[in-house]
Assembly symmetry: D2
Homo-oligomer: 331 residues x 4
């Protein structure tokens, strides 16, 4: 479904080379200050020209077409559009003939019986995440007075956890026409206690649902994550040290029983290396009915994790905004 | 929210020491053969007396109270109840005074302003997963004709990946009044192509949402999972080798762009060590307003991952049933 | 779907002659006083032995099986069960052969490919409304502090609007083995301003959705209702007479633009005459493949509107509880 | 909420004088032929210059910005935009000061704490129904192969049921600066059997939910509707006359137990007289804190029922498309 959320409800649409991509957000409280400029910082993080990111530079000007009046949210659905100005009218029939490995080309054809828009990945394009980032900006405003503070960083690239060497790792991949994966870590301070709805809408469920909708995400873990499998309970348990519920360690990543406990929220996300690489690969050729070599043209990110970071932060913010409004409705 | 799913919709309720726990399932196609006996195998896996699991043996007799008539599903909501026969009327006020580390005791109190049922974890008890397992049995029937085949195993316990040594690892923890974490892996063969709804209800999003509602789950990864962060695209890409879309490797775990590609579905889940351990721990005492020692009484699993395995498999089955019915509605 | 609501979410299940019927309610705020006795009054209204209602007297003892602890709601899903103690193991094959006119017998078979439970109407039985009434009781508690006050009455029976003559009208129908329709009117005083969510979840949409799920309801109107079609704007407009938004007339029934305006909420519901009448009727016989005479046995209400009144009030209360919690989440 | 539907899910946004109004539709099966021209007929019915409708003529050019590629639906969300080209930058502060009787002016302010967009009714404007009509066109395509056939007519205007006199009735109202209400009737032939989901999503519930989201609708009835209240069961029951379930009469309007029975679907909708009339009315003046005379300027429909007819038909089509796709998922 192209919508997510119970109260703060986000609906997304568009294709990479269609007229526009956009997002409509329901349940935004009225009276919040908001202007097109407020989107600039996070959109710049997403579009960043930092080494390793795609050189495709679109203005990505957000157009607020509904839900804001005289600089404040109206309470009605808030819709933000982005025109697709930099599309190229190229020939995409080769993607139908030679679907790219580890890409959505083939499943998109199969799911939609060949009627999908194949240009630039169509609805499966990373360009759709513009809407997520826009919704994330609004989400942050919604939860602002709760003082949630987001810190998002690249924790690992290509197995290297030393930030000072990330550029080097990425450049090495680029030189070889290759790409490289990474881990994005998002931490949220000043968390509210009590977010998360039992049974199915645990804080982890809600956040992970949104994170796994971000293209290229293949793993999500909270707190100590997969490390917990190696541990004893006596090492993993987070001892409560004061009446606020602060804990000595934070292996649970700020969530117990699916409910936020007020400690720092910690989530880590595995982002796979960009599937589109410029070095030649083998794939099945549906015209020749045999395995053939594929040469992907065009410009692609060597490390999509870099640009995905703000998208991941936005997804976390959206989930928290919805959980926060739901929690508030009970009190 | 206590419901999940768009068409195959599962609603769950109950508390560990209340009258009963149960599940109601909407959207079950009519005419499927089903009897109380069909639940026996998966319920036994969940209740298993295998070493390392809790000695609390309840009959866990499923009562089908609606939705089945003369041995077949009616198409109306299908409800299964489990009476809580083995509850103990003990004193749980100590959990309010001394909340257990890494447990839901404290957040449950905070979220529900002290009105929560604290007995045996209340609504946060693992006992609620009886309903998930029951729904999983129905889900498997729903998707049966698609021939999906589930294989679920413990992939790791306490850092050890050698199945022959699992008992040893668990026993060592038990001897020290401790518990140990694990990784559960679920694989599904004979997958249908095209399950998953863009943008927000990707196959990964839907499956992970359900998995993170299972108590003690702290990480979910598909295919190569967090390994992808260490890789180049050229090693991680799954080359398509025939017209059915079969791939030479399966780093994507059978999912591209959020849509199943027909290859084996592979998901791994990190299960933390049981938070309730019998060796003493420190926690905050809300009566004495200081950190004190806590001694947890009662019987607890040393490795909850063992019993969680079938719950995890059930969660995957439920997600696939919903995705399958949704997909079918389009064609 | 067997669930309704965004925050105050009601899930219902059961068949007339199955083990039990029940309701599970999600989103109930924690700490509300509630006991089984609180259901007695509205259940009695539903089961009422008043002339014209069915003589089938079941104890209808509500069993709260989850969500209440020590006399207060816990915040976890609240489930209420009713055992079906008075079921008769009769032969219902005749309903399959000779579906009752204006009843669900035939559509139930067609929709569920003959696998439906035909006994006593199965899932289509009025007995399912026990769950609605139970949920209505909880809903009234949820919105209690807003002081909403419900007044529900029979406005019309068989075309007669004079309450003193209702018994006479019903008796006349009973004497002839017939039934008679009616109009139920529900008014709510002390309404909050602002309930209703644009665009699709207007107050009217939400309330009407629930009302049309009540068996036998064929029409719903707010305020002046169908009368508005006969009027000029100058007669129909409700002039605002003070700063609270009170109006001189109330043709809009307390709702403008789908949002409650604080004036009395007024909704009227058309309830058709019970389809099951004891006088003979013609219907199609699927065994003889021809039209034959049908003689319905058993006990049936001569005027189902009488017992439907509290069900209708409950539906309105449930809708208002959900709208109220949603509205509150915004502020 | 600004979305409706389980599978065929419609999301709507916009304000009368904002940049644009629009609709995004999820769950559209892939491969359906669709172009901007296909919207022309129904949009023309909505915009009709027929006597009694507003003279405001906007081009209302639909822009399909996503979900269609090379003339066919892609299966991805289908979004249609309408630019608001004819907006006037007038002064709307008077609506805040002197809210129009029976309009959303006052509730919009109250609900959204004064942050709502008051221009032209903002989100409460009838202009939002452009999106409904666009979605209705897509819905009709979705259910086309089921051969549902819609016939929509004005059944009554100002108490007059004689179509030949409608113009006369409307002109009389116009001459006096007044407006007049009406009844719109929508009939659907070639209905499928089995649409509608018990318990809460009965066919009536789903259709009525959408109809009551249309501005000015105050009543909805199916089949004999409110007439049933006056009747005996023996006159109201629809006798089944053949193996297809055809009935001799159609008092149930093609729906039994909330499920379509294959007979003609009949629904009637009460549309109130336009609240905005040009003759003077009294209202509360929030600046002068007293009741004052209000003179509404601008152009308004004398009988909004005329233009509402196609909107009502669209709402029915959307509901049927969702019910149809849900039903199909079960088989």
């Amino acid at each position: 479904m192209n919508s997510f959320g119970s109260i703060f409800r986000v609906t997304i649409w568009g294709e990479s080379h269609g007229a526009s991509v956009g997002v409509s957000i329901d349940g935004v409280p009225a009276g919040i200050k908001l202007s097109a400029e407020d989107f600039a910082e996070d959109l710049a993080r997403r579009a960043s020209g930092r080494r390793g990111t795609t050189p495709r530079h679109e203005p990505d000007q957000p157009q607020i077409v509904s839900g804001v009046y005289e600089g404040r949210t109206t309470g009605a659905p808030l819709t933000v559009l982005f025109e697709n100005t930099n599309t190229r009218s190229g020939d995409y029939s080769n993607l139908v003939r030679q679907p790219r490995p580890s890409h959505a080309d083939l499943v998109a054809q199969r799911k939609f019986a060949g009627a999908n828009d194949p240009r630039g990945g169509g609805h499966f394009s990373g360009r759709l995440t513009l809407g997520l980032v826009a919704a994330g900006v609004v989400a942050k405003r919604v939860i602002e007075n709760s003082e949630f503070a987001f810190t998002t960083r690249i924790a690992e690239i290509g197995g290297c956890a030393d930030e000072s060497r990330f550029d080097e790792v990425i450049e090495a991949a680029m030189r070889e026409g290759d790409s490289v994966g990474g881990v994005v870590e998002c931490r949220v301070d000043n968390m509210a206690v009590g977010l998360g709805e039992p049974f199915f809408d645990s804080a982890e469920s809600t956040i992970a649902h949104l994170l796994f909708s971000v293209p290229a995400v293949k793993g999500v873990e909270f707190g100590a994550g997969f490390e917990v499998a190696k541990r004893r309970g006596s090492e993993n348990n987070d001892l409560i040290i004061n009446a606020n519920g602060a804990t000595a360690t934070n292996n649970d990543g700020g969530i117990n029983g699916g409910i936020t406990n007020g400690n720092q929220l910690v989530v880590r996300v595995a982002v796979k290396p960009t599937a589109s690489i410029s070095s030649p690969q083998m794939t099945y050729d549906f015209e020749q009915n045999q395995i053939t070599e594929l040469q992907i043209k065009g410009r692609h990110d060597a490390c999509i994790a870099l640009r995905a970071a703000v998208v991941i932060e936005s997804a976390v913010a959206i989930a928290l905004a919805d959980l926060w409004l739901r929690h508030r409705s009970r009190h």
